[in-house]
Amino acid sequence: MLRALLAIGLVIVSTLSLAEVTDVYDFDSPQQEEQFQTMIEELRCPKCQNQNIADSHAPIAKDMRNEAYRMMQGGASRDEVVDALVDRFGEFILYKPAVEKRTFLLWATPVIAVFVGLLAVIGVVIRSRRNARSITELTPDEKARAEEFLADMEQEKRS
């Protein structure tokens, strides 16, 4: 009995520690809240890298969330908020860097790699087909010789 209680207690305690970062922000509409939530999930925490500022417990992430909320309540658009944060912390915080000339390779590399791979596969397929055809198709002269050879073998078998 005691053990069961202890087990249940431990389960409850363990779920508590998994609770998300919960700041209480009030929004005028659910859309606005969703916009805010999406935005902070796309921003990277400069301190605890590989976490977004929505999940991070770092004080700096909290400051960033607060500033984002403050600006949004003041009527700023998503881009304005993101730009303001990038001005302070650099493009490092963007999980999705802007598509421009400078970041072109960053975005295009996967597409280029897939394209090159496709070209290679197509090349291999075409070449193997061509080889297969050149093997099966004999010149009339070769055909005649082959038939002669086969006929000889038949005769040898019978005799």
């Binding site: 301190k47 990038v86 302070r88």
Partner: protein, 178 residues
Amino acid sequence: MKRVLLFLPLIIVLGLGVVLFAGIGKDTTTLESALIGKPVPSFSLADLHSPGRLISNDVFKGKVQLLNVWGTWCPSCRDEHPDLLRLAKQKGVSIIGLNYKDSRDEALTWLSRLGDPYSTSIYDPKGTLGFDLGVYGAPETFVIDASGVVRYRHVGVVNQKVWEETLLPVINEAKGNG
């Protein structure tokens, strides 16, 4: 030609190896400041020593200075403190202190007990100037030129090595241009 193509995967793997190897052991936690080449964000904050006195951007005008972001809650700040004292007292470097997210009493106790390397101390309990500067982990040390423009940011402890190899060259360059 076909023989050469056979070596292509090997060449690609070697190339990737070199690129990835170059990244091993690299410090990914220090970021370049987004403010390099830009003026220090405008601020008006109280003096740590005299609460009634306000400090603004004018404090950065006139000469090349260091701006050191610190707090009594930050163990690495304690670590670099003797080095900052040495720079201020022996090398005559002008260091402005930004007391970041701290309490005034604790900060003053720290300075009176360990010594005060700062020519001016800005008190930023809410971290507003720190936030505008993109401070993400104290200690951070900025090199500010004579016109109040950020030239460099060092994240982490300032020691003899960092001073000689990193900060001093930037300061000399800032002096040359400013």
